[in-house]
Symmetry: C2
């Protein structure tokens, strides 16, 4: 997978191509925010080429193709960088649960206002 490289066009959109940046996966149909993970150049290049949800695992320090083990893959429909080029939004079709706990979304711990 180390052969995947980011094009100069995409690099130019990034604030700093060497940064790990947060990537938000959003369900294309329900619009639910499913998870937040991180991408580096290699992960982003792999995601662009394969249209498969791909991140950089900070804990394992390796490329992480979402669902490679669990089968809970993400088909990527579209990608957008933010105005600063330091955050990514991924529109996905999620197979199975996005969260390793089995829940639809990782954001399942409510914090009370007030």
């Amino acid at each position: 997978m180390s052969s995947y490289q980011l094009s100069e066009d995409v690099k130019a959109l990034l604030k700093d191509p060497n940064l790990l940046i947060p990537a938000i996966a959003q369900d294309v149909q329900t619009k639910e925010v499913l998870m937040l993970a991180y991408v580096n150049q290699q992960a982003l290049a792999h995601m662009i080429e394969t249209a498969t949800g791909t991140y950089w695992s900070r804990s394992r320090n390796e490329l992480w193709v979402k669902g490679a083990t669990s089968g809970h893959t993400q088909k990527v429909l579209s990608l957008a960088l933010d105005c600063d080029g330091d955050a990514l939004l991924i529109s996905v079709e999620q197979i199975g649960a996005a969260c390793h706990t089995g829940k639809t979304t990782c954001f399942h711990q409510p914090v009370k206002l007030g």
Copy 2:
């Protein structure tokens, strides 16, 4: 604003209460992802207390009440932490544009798949 402090209950949900964590603002009605910024304890405590979109500005190194200058404030409807306690999802009613460019969302730079 330095008087706002996080409760022990909320601190217990965080992976590391001393980390700056990414916070995703999502429009409560359209479900559009509007922006990604960061919160520390102080910003999160201020957001919980005031139900107003509040972040920690990494560039200015100070509390940033979204819209304090532009008037483009965020009314916070609900908050949720992710399974790891190191990312936050904020459901907001956005007044005006979320992006400083005047666009609805900061994620307006498409990246082509391919």
